[in-house]
């Protein structure tokens, strides 16, 4: 019985069955069984803590996939007071008002508008490298790539903002000392598209004026610099670049989040609340719309691949993930989990069909990689050069101060004095593998075991591959978090902004609360999000978005109804309280006192040590969670 249900629900972690008018036999069985177990469970729990049935405890939520919170919602009118207590939030109050005044069909437009509004409002502030020549910052890096890639276009319809032109085969080789292109090709194509759009109009064409090479005469460079200073002052360039980020958000990230919430069975009110919770996530907004980067496209593509996996489109999902990787190599942090899921699915299906699927996925992956890199494939030296630029192993263990294990260790042990860069790189690689492999192996084992058991019970015949997903799909967000966090904590050359990668899968899980479970997931997600933003404070302060940091963070915590004092007693509650206290203390100290002269980075080091500690605990918790979920998934497949 388990497996067909699995397929029906797509293995989601918070599936809400529709109130079925045509009662499918399977759903009828499900409802009966679930309601029985639900009532038993909730009565048990209500004995313990005052009738909050909003959240299953962290374990065995694979079981709770099949508990119909829809049923609870229908039964709610009589007993609304109790479940609302711990999960009420201003967002929900707002959504309830919208629904009750008959504006349910407005949910999506309104939430998109609110998300855009917040993004633009944050964009009013400073950005990385504002008015800081000669190198400026990330906005200039992206702008430079726009002008670099689009300068290769020759068309009479396009305006010519500068007389220089760089053909595509020199993209990865052009002027390395000044923001040389070091992202994979999809970023280059994206820049090409934006650059071409800018060059369509004479007003925007100067935004993508290519800087003369560093070797060219000094007055050329200073003339270009003068033009840039003028554009910076006029402000139109900033808003154009900002808008390009927001439209990218809208096309990829916002659609992915809304779709994910829908796929996970949320509709109407709960979908709106869940999606807004994710979309207003402060970390991403501050980095993308404040600091200035295009991370949301990479994250959105990865989320789209998860969405596609849910729909059973494994090949398309793999392609979407390749695109994500091709946009930013940082998506590599996710690759163990994606790999484990896809290989696991082949194992779950088993036999010849499984093998066939594996071959198809492999072919699709290789083919899409080849397509992405097609312009750079020949001659091989070109490809090598691109790859060398994308993976700069020659740099140090860590560049800036970042809240991972190496930097935290560095407080006590000066690692970089102990060993050469090469040795440290190997050490980091080894540590990362050690941290990632258990979850990969676990995922594979779960898929294999679940597949074997269901085949043994005859519900999953090998030729029955057109529908259904393995139980590991429900574990995928956790697995993505574990693998990205492992990379963040242990790998080589990590940036503080990379914390966005572990945060994304955790944040999308926060919607689970709207379906009535995943309480601990939610609490951990808020904690890690808050500390994640805190860990980026030095960066944000430098960019002049300190005010936005405070406002966006406070507003997000307020609208999702988060109050660490009101959490139920648990480890995460005390951890949250302690880490917030320390964070406030560090901020307060920084405000009133200058760091001592011999320790100029004192506050930064304190910040990253605390953050790294919380991240490490989050990693351990998620690993435990993965084991529990996996165990439950295998157990579920037994009957």
């Amino acid at each position: 019985m388990g497996t067909p249900l699995n397929r029906q629900g797509g293995g989601g972690a918070f599936v809400v069955p529709k109130p079925s008018k045509t009662i499918d036999r399977r759903w009828a069985v499900l409802d009966a069984a679930a309601l029985a177990s639900r009532s038993a469970k909730s009565s048990r729990r209500s004995d313990r803590d005052g009738g909050d049935e909003s959240a299953s405890e962290s374990g065995a939520s694979a079981l709770s996939n099949f508990l119909p919170p829809g049923g609870r919602a229908k039964a709610a009118p009589g007993t609304t007071a109790t479940p609302r207590d711990l999960t009420s939030s201003p967002l929900r109050t707002w959504a309830r008002w919208m629904r009750n005044s008959g504006k349910s069909s407005w949910f999506i437009p309104v939430l998109v508008a609110v998300a855009l509004l917040v993004k633009f409002a944050v964009g009013l502030g400073g950005y990385s490298g504002l008015g800081a020549p000669p190198l400026r910052g990330d906005l200039e890096a992206q702008r430079h790539w726009l002008s670099l890639t689009s300068s290769s276009l020759k068309s009479t319809r396009l305006h010519q903002p500068s007389s220089y032109s760089v053909s595509y085969d020199r993209w990865y080789d052009h002027d390395r000392s000044y923001w040389g292109l070091d992202y994979p090709p999809l970023t280059a194509y994206h820049s090409l598209l934006l650059g071409a759009l800018a060059r369509l109009s004479s007003t925007t064409a100067p935004f993508v004026a290519l800087r003369p090479e560093s070797t060219s005469p000094a007055h050329h460079v200073s003339a270009w610099n003068a033009a840039m200073v003028g554009l910076e002052r006029a402000g139109a360039m900033k808003s154009w670049m900002r808008a390009s980020v927001v439209w990218g958000d809208l096309l990829v990230w916002i659609t992915a989040v809304v779709t994910f919430c829908r796929i996970r069975g949320l509709t109407g009110l709960s979908q709106a609340v869940a999606a807004l919770t994710v979309l207003l996530q402060p970390a991403l907004i501050l980095v993308d719309n404040g600091h200035f980067q295009y991370n949301s496209i990479m994250l959105g593509l990865t989320l789209w691949s998860v969405n596609l996996f849910h729909g059973g489109h494994d090949l398309l999902g793999a392609v979407a993930f390749v695109l994500s990787l091709g946009f930013k190599q940082m998506a590599l942090y996710y690759s163990p989990a994606i790999f484990a899921y896809l290989l696991g699915k082949c194992l779950w299906i088993g036999g010849r069909p499984g093998m066939a699927l594996l071959i198809r996925i492999g072919t699709a992956t290789v083919a899409s990689f080849a397509l992405l890199f097609a312009p750079f494939l020949f001659p091989p030296s070109l490809l090598l050069q691109a790859i060398n630029r994308i993976f700069p192993f020659a740099r140090g263990l860590f560049e800036d101060k970042v809240a991972n294990v190496w930097c935290a260790l560095n407080v006590a042990v000066k690692l970089r004095d102990l060993a050469s860069v090469g040795v440290l790189a190997k050490l980091a690689l080894f540590a990362t593998l050690c941290a990632v492999l258990p979850s990969v192996i676990g995922m594979l084992w779960v898929s294999h075991e679940a597949g074997r058991r269901s085949r043994a019970s005859g519900t999953n015949t090998p030729d029955d591959t057109s529908v259904g997903n393995p139980p590991t799909l429900a574990l995928l967000p956790h697995a993505l978090f574990v693998s990205a966090m492992a990379f963040f904590l242990f790998s080589f050359q990590v940036h503080e902004k990379s914390i966005l990668l572990p945060l994304m899968p955790l944040t999308i899980l926060m919607g689970g609360r709207e379906a009535g479970f995943g309480r601990l997931d939610w609490e951990w997600a808020v904690l890690l999000n808050n500390i994640g933003v805190f860990s980026m404070w030095p960066l944000l302060k430098r960019d002049g978005v300190g005010l936005q940091y405070i406002v966006v963070l406070a507003a997000w915590n307020a609208v999702i109804g988060y109050n660490p004092f009101k959490l139920r007693r648990s480890f995460v509650k005390y951890l949250s309280l302690a880490s917030y206290a320390v964070a406030f203390l560090i901020h307060a100290l920084e405000l009133v006192a200058a760091p001592p002269a011999h320790l100029p980075d004192l506050f930064v080091v304190l910040n990253l040590t605390v953050s790294a500690g919380v991240f490490a605990l989050g990693f351990l918790w998620a690993s435990k969670r993965l084991v529990q979920e996996g165990w439950a998934a295998v157990g579920n497949a037994q009957f």
């Binding site: 005044s101 008959g102 504006k103 407005w106 309104v110 508008a113 609110v114 855009l116 509004l117 917040v118 633009f120 409002a121 944050v122 964009g123 009013l124 502030g125 903002p161 500068s162 007389s163 109009s201 004479s202 007003t203 100067p206 004026a209 000094a218 007055h219 050329h220 200073s222 003339a223 270009w224 610099n225 003068a226 033009a227 200073v229 003028g230 554009l231 002052r233 006029a234 402000g235 139109a236 900033k238 808003s239 154009w240 900002r242 808008a243 927001v246 005010l547 936005q548 405070i550 406002v551 966006v552 406070a554 507003a555 307020a558």
Partner: protein
Amino acid sequence: MLKLTRSSSHSTDFEVHRNWLAITYSLPLSQWYFDTTSEWTLDYPPFFAYFERVLSVFAFIVDPKIVQLDNLGYDAWSAVAFQRTTVLVSELVLASAVFQWARRSQKPDYPTAFIIAVSLLFHPGLMIVDHIHFQYNGFLLGILLWSIVAARENNLYLCAALFATLLNFKHIFIYLAPPYFVFLLRRHCYNKSGAFQLDRLVELGAIVLSIVAISFGPFLLAGGPSQIVQIFTRLFPFQRGLNHAYWAANVWALVSAVDRVLVKYLVTRGWPISAEALSSASRGLVGETTFGVLPNITPGLTFSITLGFILIFLAKLWFDPTYKRFLDSVVLSAMTSFLWGWHVHEKAVLLFLVPLSLTAVEDEDHLRAYIIASAAGVYSLFPLLIKPIETPIKIIFTVLWCSLVFGSLRKVVYRPNPSLISFLVGYAELAYLAGFFVLQFYVGFLHDALFGPLYAMPDFAAQAVAAAGAQCVQNATDVLADGSCTGIVDAVVGEVASNILVEGKYEFLPLMLTSLYCALGIVWAWLRLSWAYLVR
């Protein structure tokens, strides 16, 4: 919460208020209205000056540089944060007023009144003028709403006192004084049988006069009558032109536009047009307006027209001094003086938008007028925000606000069976609202695409710098050890940077279209309201 995020831009009004903080902090009372250190002299009535004086104490604690008189244009982070916070805090007056109004509201019922209250707190007009542009309108309108609430509760002494206080904060509210006067007189000073009660008038007069005494008294004591004369010359500067720097969306904007069109047309037909009018017509919007064809407008004319209309409304109020009619006449007085007044400021739209919101769900006429006037009024404020980055914010915020508020309020208003005319009018209004999107498309995109602005290309800049470099090589004394000539090139670089934006043609056109289109809507809303007020 969002308000704080918007702290990143500020305007001349920000510096105006900073300067007032400095004046009131550093100078003795007798000098406040004489100081001319900055061009932004103190031109609000005394209560506002006292208000600034109170704020300046805190300002001094936050950052002493804010209140230095000669520290013109100071906009450090501390100053911005402090002044923004004062606006936010002073807006609590508005918040308390709207919730007080909603709490005991009978018609509209509480849930609707609550929506209106929230809609006022998040009014895009207030957002633009107070939080982005920088003024204290929320605070002042809060006092106005408190006095309206007092009128509703029949607490007429309080109503009079609050309004007198308000007048002493900002004299622009004098436009609302006639309905207040008539309402208080009729409601309070006549008993049920219609007999006049002088003692009550004396009481009211005493309250108002004592407030004026508190306000102006200190100045009289400090410097005698010359102080009062000086204050009044500051408060009512009659030397200004018919239209403000750019046109407020009122009748005179429409008249001026008609005149411009006639001038252009008649010039082609060879009519003699005075040179003064021609230059006035061709230079767009700035400065005094001289009409070429139509008769010139004098302040006296505008005042008589305004007063004439207001008197008509007051006549009705005189015979029917109910709270509902009082509120309507307040709205109509504000609208009339906005539409027909001399040198009206575009920010004065808030004066009628806020009380109009309170009556929005009265009936179909009010609702329609409210929708049209709010949309037009808010849009007419858009040009106050000039930074391109602010454009999407103001648009998204306004569209969101309009759709949520209008959508909710439409539901609770009974819609009478449409006649053919009201049916057509309904569609015309819808088309008018849709027209804002077209207008925004033109103003925000198409105009730039057609007429510039152009940025000087970096290649031109390169030539300029190269020329400077060549010149400097010839002039051997400037050449430094490494052969470069940093000084001259840097100077040219600075020049190029500041001249990169080349002004486009027809710069005035977007502004003109905006104020004309908005004027149409506001005039229509005014006509509709007047008709409903006088006929129904």
